[in-house]
Structures are given as structure tokens and as C-alpha cells.
């Protein structure tokens, strides 16, 4: 009896021990899960408001004040799509940039889309190339092409203009920015949907809205017009059309881009009249410049650029602008007109275009000839608040640098170029043509004042190595340093052996 009681007691103890172990095990597991859960929760909570220190050389992890203001003005959610392939340079740069927008505003959602994996989404926005960004707000969207984001043509190293482009698109979709550029039609001008489609794509990527305008079907230039481009008219304007354009410039502060080709034996009195109000006249004939021309073709001059806001980036980059079949111009009046491009003194304006041989004779005007002119006018300085909301917001930083009341400032009025081919699709990509076309419209629109976000270049400090230095670095780091560790190990072993 006692024996069986003892066995029963042992069994009870064993069961109690097992229960105890089970209970302790369960407790320990619960405690572990609890601690891990707390840590995960802490991570999730603190991820909402991260503290960030940007030590990058190109300051890529911070947005410009203009971008933050544009985000503050968002009234509805925005989705930023980047159509990129994982692991590429574009994916990295765009991913970093768009993440900054997402962190800066609760209204921004970012989606990195692989166009191969989600082709329907790519088709929806008509994305044709990887590296495209789409900014979508409600039912509207703005597409930014890769060449508006990454440029490498002018400065050697790649320039990233992503922030500029995305912020402009945000301003435009919010109805706060984006000047409207009208291309005049009805006189045989080039169309922004055909001849100038590359320029249109570029301008849209820069935040402009491009439209066409037939003045014969309206009674004035539309109210939203900032710049009217007259790109290579083949026939003259009607009197009313000329008057509408003059009123647009003189009464409403509108800006004109006139790109005029030589039209031998054709009179354009209304165009000439419009030019006269700008202080410009056309020089009859086609420019022949044996001194500076594309591959020796004297009829395709590559004129010298004169220093101006429009041309200075091209001069710094040492690139030219080719004007195939150019019309010479002449500044008729005063200091309002600045020459942007001048031919060499070997050039002349050939009046006789019927002959096979181009020869300068008595009636031809001799070089140097002016081929592009910028026209400005003096205006009293407007208070910073008088301009549009977006302009005042974007230039808030520059407000302190503005001159005091009563002073005047020079504002752009027109740019007249003696050629319309330079910005057409076939010539657009040549050296500085694209930048000249885009710069002159940006300058006219005053857009450079609206969003002055500096494009970023990734500095790549290069190294010049002699053969000896290269060998020294290779053997020193690959063999020398590990060998030093081996020697240290042997020394320690030796000392311990002696102990």
C-alpha cells in the first residue's frame, strides 16, 4: 500500500514537473512574442516621422523650398508613377526623388512600375520609354519623358532635372503654374503636333501647356496665352491678326517668338509691320556664310552666339545652333534689341537665289549679319504679390533681392529668329538647337523665375594613376594588409609560446 502510494506520489511529481515545464515554456514563448511585437510596433510608429541626415554630395535627399510649397498647395491626392526597370540608374534616381515627395506630403503616393510587368498601366499613360514619370491628379495627368529628366548633352556629366520637372507638373496640375504656349496656324506654319512634336514634348515636360491658335477664328489672343510662337509662316498675316498680336504684346504683356524663313520674291507686309513695332526689320535674301557653317554648307550657318540669358548655357557648353536656310535681321531701334546670334563677316545675304552659284555682289548686304534678336522693354517693378500666386510662391526666396519701388526692370517681349527649321524635328537634336529653342521660350515665359530648382549633377571625382601607383594600390591592399594581419597573428603566437 505504502509502495503504491510512493509510486503514485512520484508519478504526480513527474506530471507536475511536466506541467511546470510546459507552463514555463508557454510563458517564455508569449513573453518573447510580446517583446518582438513591441519592437516591431516601435519601428512602425517611428517610421511615420523619420529623422533624416543628408550627407550626399548632390543633396539628393532634400526637396527645394519651391517643391515643398507646391506640395503644401495640393488640394487632392497625387500619384507619382515611375516607369522603370529595377536595378537601373534611372530607377535609383527616380526612386530616391519620388520618395522625398512621398515623405514630404501625406497626399502623395508613389508607385514604381516595371513597364514589362504592368504593360496595361504603361499603355494607359502611353509610356514609350523606361525612365518616364507620370504625375496623376484626379482624372488629369502629366507625363514627363526621360529626356526632360536626364540630360547629358550639354555638360558632359549627366544632369538630373527630375525635381524641376515633377514640381512643375504638380504646379500645373494644381492650376498654379505652367504657362500656355500657343503655336499660330493658318499661314503654313509648322505644327506642334507634327513638325515640332519633339519641341512640344520637351516643353510639356518642362511644365508648359502647348496649344494651337488660329486667329482668323477668334477675336483676340486667348487670355491664358503667355507666349505665341509664329513658326515659319509661308503667307502673310491678315491685318486683324497683326493687330491682335500687337495688342497681345503691347496691352497685355504677352510675348512673341517669331521664327521667320527667307521667302524670296514674296512680300509679307503685315509680318514686317509687326516686326517694325518690335524694332526689327528683315534683311532681304538668304544668308550665305562660308566662314562658319555646318560641314562647309554655307547655306546652313552656325552663327556665333552672343552672351544673353538665352544663349549663355550654350556658350558655356561650347555648342552651336545650326540655322539651315536663314533670314538675316536688323535691329532698327535702340537698346531694347539684343543680338543673340551673329554670322561671320564673310557672310552675306544673297538676293539672287535663282543662280546655281552663290556669289556676293553689289546688291547683297554684307556680314556680319544678325540672325536672332531678343527684344525687351522697361517696366516699373511690380510688387512681388502682383504676379500670379504660383510665381509669388516660387520666387518668395528671391523677393528680398528685388529692387525697391519706383525702379524699372527689363522684361522680355519677343525673340525673333531668322529661321524656323532649327527647332523642327529633324534638326531639334543637333548640338544646342533643342536648348536654344527651349531656353528662348522659357525666357519669354519668365518660367525661369517660377521654378528655379537647380538640376543636380552627380560629381564623379576621377583619379589619375601611374602604372606604379596602380600596382602599389593593388598589391598593398590585396596582399600587404592581409599579410600584416598574418604577421600580427604569428607575433602573438610567438609571445604566447614563450610564456
Amino acid at each position: 500500500m505504502q509502495e503504491s502510494e510512493r509510486i503514485g506520489g512520484i508519478q504526480r511529481l513527474t506530471r507536475a514537473g511536466a506541467r511546470l515545464r510546459l507552463a514555463r515554456g508557454a510563458n517564455a514563448t508569449l513573453f518573447t512574442l510580446f517583446v518582438v511585437g513591441i519592437v516591431v510596433l516601435l519601428n512602425v510608429m517611428l517610421a511615420q516621422r523619420p529623422l533624416r541626415l543628408d550627407l550626399s554630395a548632390d543633396k539628393r535627399f532634400q526637396l527645394a523650398p519651391q517643391s515643398r510649397q507646391a506640395l503644401d498647395r495640393l488640394r487632392q491626392p497625387v500619384t507619382l508613377y515611375a516607369f522603370v526597370f529595377e536595378g537601373t540608374e534611372e530607377a535609383e534616381r527616380l526612386g530616391d526623388l519620388l520618395r522625398e515627395y512621398r515623405l514630404a506630403s501625406d497626399r502623395v503616393r508613389v508607385r514604381m512600375v516595371d513597364p514589362d510587368r504592368e504593360p496595361t498601366l504603361a499603355q494607359k499613360y502611353e509610356v514609350r520609354a523606361a525612365g518616364t514619370v507620370v504625375v496623376e491628379m484626379g482624372s488629369n495627368y502629366r507625363k514627363i519623358e526621360p529626356f526632360n529628366l536626364f540630360t547629358s548633352s550639354l555638360y558632359g556629366a549627366m544632369e538630373f532635372r527630375g525635381e524641376q520637372a515633377v514640381t512643375r507638373a504638380l504646379l500645373e496640375l494644381s492650376g498654379l503654374g505652367g504657362s500656355v504656349v500657343y503655336f499660330l496656324e493658318g499661314h503654313g506654319e509648322g505644327s506642334p503636333y507634327d513638325d515640332y512634336s519633339e519641341l512640344r514634348g520637351y516643353l510639356e515636360g518642362e511644365g508648359f501647356t502647348v496649344k494651337t491658335l488660329n486667329l482668323a477664328l477668334t477675336d483676340s489672343v486667348p487670355d491664358d496665352a503667355r507666349v505665341v510662337v509664329v513658326a515659319g509662316p509661308r503667307t502673310d498675316l491678315a491685318v486683324q491678326e497683326r493687330e491682335m498680336l500687337e495688342a497681345f504684346v503691347q496691352e497685355r504683356g504677352g510675348r512673341l517668338a517669331l521664327w521667320l524663313d527667307p521667302l524670296p520674291n514674296r512680300q509679307l507686309p503685315q509680318v514686317d509691320g509687326l516686326l517694325a513695332t518690335l524694332g526689327v526689320e528683315r534683311v532681304p535674301g538668304v544668308v550665305v556664310d562660308p566662314g562658319r557653317a555646318l560641314f562647309g554648307d554655307a547655306l546652313s550657318p552656325v552663327p556665333e552666339l552672343r552672351w544673353h540669358d538665352v544663349t549663355s548655357p550654350l556658350i558655356q557648353a561650347n555648342v552651336g545652333v545650326v540655322l539651315p536656310g536663314a533670314q538675316a535681321l536688323r535691329a532698327a531701334s535702340g537698346d531694347r534689341v539684343t543680338a543673340l546670334m551673329v554670322s561671320t563677316d564673310r557672310a552675306w545675304a544673297e538676293r539672287d537665289v535663282s543662280g546655281q552659284r552663290w556669289q556676293r555682289d553689289g546688291e547683297d548686304v554684307a556680314g556680319p549679319l544678325e540672325l536672332a534678336l531678343a527684344i525687351q522693354r522697361e517696366e516699373p517693378v511690380a510688387p512681388a504679390t502682383a504676379t500670379s500666386e504660383a510665381t509669388s510662391a516660387a520666387s518668395a526666396d528671391e523677393a528680398s533681392a528685388q529692387p525697391s519701388e519706383g525702379e524699372t526692370t527689363r522684361v522680355p517681349v519677343a525673340v525673333v529668329v531668322g529661321n524656323s527649321t532649327f527647332a523642327r524635328n529633324g534638326s531639334f537634336a543637333f548640338q544646342g538647337n533643342r536648348d536654344f529653342a527651349a531656353n528662348l521660350i522659357t525666357w519669354l515665359a519668365g518660367q525661369s523665375e517660377m521654378v528655379t530648382i537647380r538640376p543636380t549633377t552627380t560629381p564623379l571625382p576621377t583619379v589619375l594613376l601611374t602604372g606604379r601607383q596602380a600596382r602599389g594600390i593593388f598589391y598593398g591592399t590585396t596582399l600587404g594588409m592581409p599579410l600584416a594581419v598574418v604577421v600580427a597573428g604569428v607575433l602573438v603566437w610567438w609571445r604566447r609560446r614563450g610564456l
Binding site: R21, R24, A28, T32, V35, V36, V39, V40, L42, N43, L46, A47, P50, L51, R52, L53, D54, L55, S56, A57, R60, F61, E86, D96, P459, L460, P461, T462, V463, L464, L465, Q469, A470, I473, F474, G476, T477, T478, L479, G480, M481, P482, V485, V486, A488, G489, V492, W493, R496
Partner: protein
Amino acid sequence: MAVFAIFKRELKSYLVSPLAYAAGVVFLAISGYFFSVILLATRIADLRPYFLNLGVILLLVTPLLTMRSLAEERQSHTDELLMTLPATPAQIVVGKYLATLALYAGMLALTAVYPALLYWLSDPPAGPILSSYLGALLLGGTFLAVGVFTSSLTDSQMVAGLLCFGLILLMWVINWLAFAMTGPVADAARQLAVFERFDDFTKGLVDSTHVLFYVSAIAILLFLSVRSLERRTWM
């Protein structure tokens, strides 16, 4: 104080063991090869490509550094002796972890020769180099914590090393799920990807979210090691 005593004892034993020197040689030889070959091929004074390859080196070196940490004590039955010390399991784990971290930090400090060479030859921006070193310390620290944890699970150093290697490899490739899937699984995989976060450090960004992630991962792994050690006392 107990943590410091264990740290000192552990570090001393590391400095007289051939394993630490072997790890140092492997680390510096592969590091030096990556650094010099990338520099000679690109001729650009940039340490980022080297740091982006650091993961491979850590994958090899971390198991070497940590596999003996707790497993050796168990194998040689000195863990029972360890338990009699006036130190808690937490102090033992932290002390041993800090010793491996100090050894790794020492190896990383030797690579300061690379930026010194770059400054001698050119003028690279300092910001990304500093943030890369901070990131390398956190990334390596996390891997070492993985090693200490796997070492607490078994009494075989070999098994501990293999487990450590496997776990780090898994942490490395977990974000591949994000390429293969969409939705919450992909998001979670992206969050857990240790190298994606390290990438930001190499670009020059120090983000509190990333720092907290690594510190949390280290804390959780060390906590699990302590639990594993404590488990032996009541099993």
C-alpha cells in the same frame, strides 16, 4: 561591470585564437581586392561600389567570427561554469556580442586605408563615406547578432556557422520576393531587406528608420539568444 568583464575575457580569447586572424585575413584580402580592382577599373574615387560588395564579405566572415561564441562553451561544457558566474544570461550574451562587434569594428577600421588612398589621389565627398561606415557597422552588427543567436542554438560550432550563413543569405535575398510578388507580402519583404536599407547609407543618407531597424534587429536577436541560453537552465 559583469558585461565588461565578459567582453574583456572574450576579446582576449579572440586575440589569441587563429580563427580571428583567419577572419581578418579573409576580410582584408577580399576587401582589398574589391576596392583596388574597382578603383583601377573605373578610375573614380568612390567607395560606394566597395560598400555595395561588403555583403559578400560579411556573409563569409560573420560565421567565422561568431560560430564559437556560445556553441564552444556548450561543446566544452564550460557553459555550466559560465552559469555559475555572478552574471545573468543577458550580460553573458551582450558581453560576448560586444566582443565580436569590437573585433569587426577593428577590421573595418583597418579599411580606413581605402578612403585615405582616395583622398591622396583625389577629392571624394566625405559625407557618403562617413554614412557608409556607419551603415557598415550597423549591417555587420546585425549579422554578428545573427551569428550569436545561431551559436546559442547548438553545441556544434559547424552547425552554428552553417545556420548563420543560411540565415544571412536568407536576409539578403528576401527582397527577391518583392520582384516576384505584389501586395503585402512584397511590401513586408521589402521592409525586411537588410541590404536595401544599407544602400541608402552608401548614398549618403542617414535615416532614423534604418538605424532603428538595425538596432531593433540586433536587440531582438540578442534577446532570442538570451532566451535560448535561459532555456537550458529549465530544460
